[in-house]
Amino acid sequence: MRHVLSLVLGLVATSPAQAEPITAAGSPKLGRVITAPSAWLAEEGDVMTTAQLDHRLDGGLGIAAGLGGIAELSLDTNTDPRFCMACGDTEEPRWFGRAGFRVGWREDTWLPGMPALVLGFRKTFASSAPLDDARISEVHLVASRSLGPVRLHAGATLTAAGYTEATGALVELAPTVRPLGGLEWTPPAYPRTTLLGDLAWVARFDDGAPPALEWVAGWGVRYQALRWSSVELLVRHREDEGLGDSTVMIRVNAALHRYR
């Protein structure tokens, strides 16, 4: 079923008939920096798709649709959380299916100079985790503001996670607040290129222990190759991880007008 879902998402994303310019600048804003969510929402009727692959050949797909210009519905797979079954061994990322709903306001909606604001809720609905019934729920509040060539993002997440032990007992992480932040910079000399950097907290599952949150810092570059598509080259570092265990990944984003 997941193969079918992946291929369908891929076919949708590659449909050339849907490729139209989204903005005059040809640079649609994405609902995340690298790991941290941003306060940008997909335009009304727009569909944003993303595919990613890292150097360990772990990948992910995502799709987000704008709703009325004030909300966004998303569906994605990601490998952000890590699991440790026999702790001491290398912790490996596992695949999660996740749905999200975000509602917010654009920049300058109420007051001049007001940042964009988004309140979002994301919840996992499927997992390849070795732990039974592993799940993560997250609420985030993010503010984003463009300042010339720079776009700043700041906010906080409230994250809860849990899984069921072999004994049947539920092991949970109580809702925990963590900050998040991000930076996007489009140098004037390179109008297609955006430097990215962010910091966020994601869940980590250790067998026999309550889930915990660990920071993930990322940096990289987004290149607007086409008016409706960009590519990203990213490096991501995690807490308690040596430099040699960092992750290098590429992403392809495509913005489609599905039903505007």
């Binding site: 692959l53 390179y190 590519v231 040699g244």
Partner: protein, 319 residues
């Protein structure tokens, strides 16, 4: 999927086909960025015009520079040494793909071929960025390079050693204003090195990890339109272990002196002599007089302006 992981095939198909495969013109690029474009991508360009460049290399011999190969350009580099290890041909290859104007993705592969067989460690990837500060004469350019380590196995008696180094380079490049023939490179290499020793039974008998902050630098002397002398020196992690002792990680000097010769605008030939005995091996240091352990290394870097070629052939990726 059976191991619970993401379906890789689907992701690969999507990455290969999404977006970039379509021949749609991108947004117009302002002139200041266009001047940085390595090659002009026009449907009417001839192959001679396409391969005339200009092309930029993103490295000296080993250390990264504050440049990247550029958008829609790919480079294939290879080098080999018959003398670094007695009786073995050591070689290394790098595939660098320009990821926009200021970034590149690298794929590295090293191997050693000897009479005992072929040792081909796991390939690794790297990311390199040119910090997009305004370019003015006399102002240095800056860059960042991240290179994931390649595990390397070494056999000593019945023990097996696995060595791994991951590097984060912060580099600067200064091109002399009046002395345009001189380019200086300097930087810091943050190395995360690990050494694991296992015995014949496969049991780990010692592991050491260390993070080192090491200087690196180099210079280029433009000798004529096509050739420049290149010197490069820096410290690099050095692994130390002897049976009965704990493994340790120190550092040693790595230095190369040679030339880079643009045989054609799209082909660069490298030749150098180098000192790197105390680096990346548990062999004892040779000392200053130990030139018998220096090596001669030859290599080449070939630029492939795939964007311009695709533009000429199909109309995709044109300026």
């Amino acid at each position: 999927m059976t191991d619970g992981r993401f379906p890789r095939t689907a992701a690969l198909v999507l990455l290969a086909s999404t977006g970039l495969a379509h021949a749609e013109e991108p947004a117009a690029v302002p002139p200041e960025a266009a001047t940085d474009a390595p090659t002009v991508r026009r449907r009417t360009s001839t192959l001679a015009e396409i391969y005339r460049g200009p092309f930029r290399s993103s490295r000296l011999f080993a250390m990264p520079t504050a440049d990247v190969v550029g958008a829609y350009v790919m480079t294939v580099s290879g080098e080999g040494s018959l003398l670094q290890q007695p009786g073995a041909l050591t070689s290394a290859g790098v595939l660098a793909i320009g990821f926009g104007d200021i970034a590149q993705l690298e794929y590295r592969h090293t191997s050693a071929i000897s009479v005992e067989g072929v040792t081909a460690p796991v390939p690794a990837v790297g990311v390199q960025l040119a910090i997009p500060l305004p370019r003015r004469p006399g102002i240095p350019a800056f860059g960042v390079a991240f290179r994931l380590g390649v595990p390397r196995d070494e056999q000593i008696d019945a023990f097996e050693l696995e060595e791994k180094v991951t590097d984060l380079y912060l580099v600067a490049r200064w091109r002399g204003g009046a002395a345009g023939w001189l380019t200086l490179h300097g930087g810091t290499r943050v190395s995360s090195a690990s050494l694991t020793v296992t015995d014949a039974m496969g049991l780990a008998i010692g592991t050491v990890e260390k993070r080192l902050v090491l200087p690196t630098g180099g210079l280029e002397l433009q000798m004529n339109d096509e050739a420049k002398l290149v010197a490069e020196a820096g410290l690099a992690p050095r692994f130390m272990w002897m049976p009965g002792a704990d493994p340790a990680i120190g550092y040693g000097l790595l230095a190369r002196l040679g030339l880079r010769w643009s045989v054609l605008p799209s082909v660069i030939f490298d030749g150098s002599i180098g000192y790197q005995q105390e680096v990346g091996t548990v062999e004892p240091p040779a000392g200053r007089g130990g030139i018998v352990q220096w090596d001669i290394r030859l290599g080449a870097e070939v630029f492939v302006p795939w964007g311009a070629l695709a533009c000429r052939a199909t109309g995709a990726f044109c300026d």
